[in-house]
Symmetry: C2
Subunit: 117 residues, 2 copies
């Protein structure tokens, strides 16, 4: 079984929707990066039991993202934030056309705002 980096990210978003047992298994396996056997010892269930819990949790986390797409939307927020930062840095570091850069910032801010709505 391979660990999937995306699961940690989706877990940050939707982890609270998992059952307590699922939450614990994914936390130990992904966030604390333990092995199935180590999680098995801690939780007092079989290694196969842990594997099943984790697999089911992975499927549910993907399903939440499929339905809600909130992780993807927040990623877009992050991209916009980075672009705004870059444009503002260029205003800071040069005497070139800050009006044009400010206009670009406004355009991105407006898209961000729509994003929220």
């Amino acid at each position: 079984m391979e660990k999937n980096i995306e699961i940690s990210l989706l877990f940050d978003f939707y982890g609270q929707l998992l059952s307590d047992k699922q939450h614990e298994a994914v936390m130990l396996y992904y966030n604390d990066d333990l092995s199935l056997s180590e999680v098995s010892d801690i939780m007092g269930i079989t290694r196969q039991g842990v594997r099943d819990l984790v697999k089911r949790s992975e499927a549910e986390l993907y399903e939440y993202e499929e339905k809600l797409g909130l992780y993807r939307r927040f990623e877009e927020v992050g991209n916009s934030a980075r672009t705004i930062r870059t444009l503002a840095e260029r205003i800071l570091s040069s005497d070139t056309d800050s009006e044009k850069l400010a206009s670009e910032i406004i355009e991105i801010a407006d898209k961000l705002y729509e994003q929220e709505a």
Copy 2:
């Protein structure tokens, strides 16, 4: 029964997590702004049945927000976007200290970026 404006907003975020019947009832009652009786006619269930569906949906939507807080986070994104827009407009409309304004934009963009992480 009073209609709650917040429900429409939460429905935009978490509506896909409701059952099909709940989804339909909330859509008709909140998004299309029909009365309980009108929804009852359309869905072919009693008025009390609609009321129960809507009440249960409202509770679930609040629970999702309680657990995930994603609506609140997106609201913060919207506030940041508006502030960035205002600052950039000031760069556009005046010859006053655009460096200071750009620095403020960077600060907000950084917080937005953390928001995403």
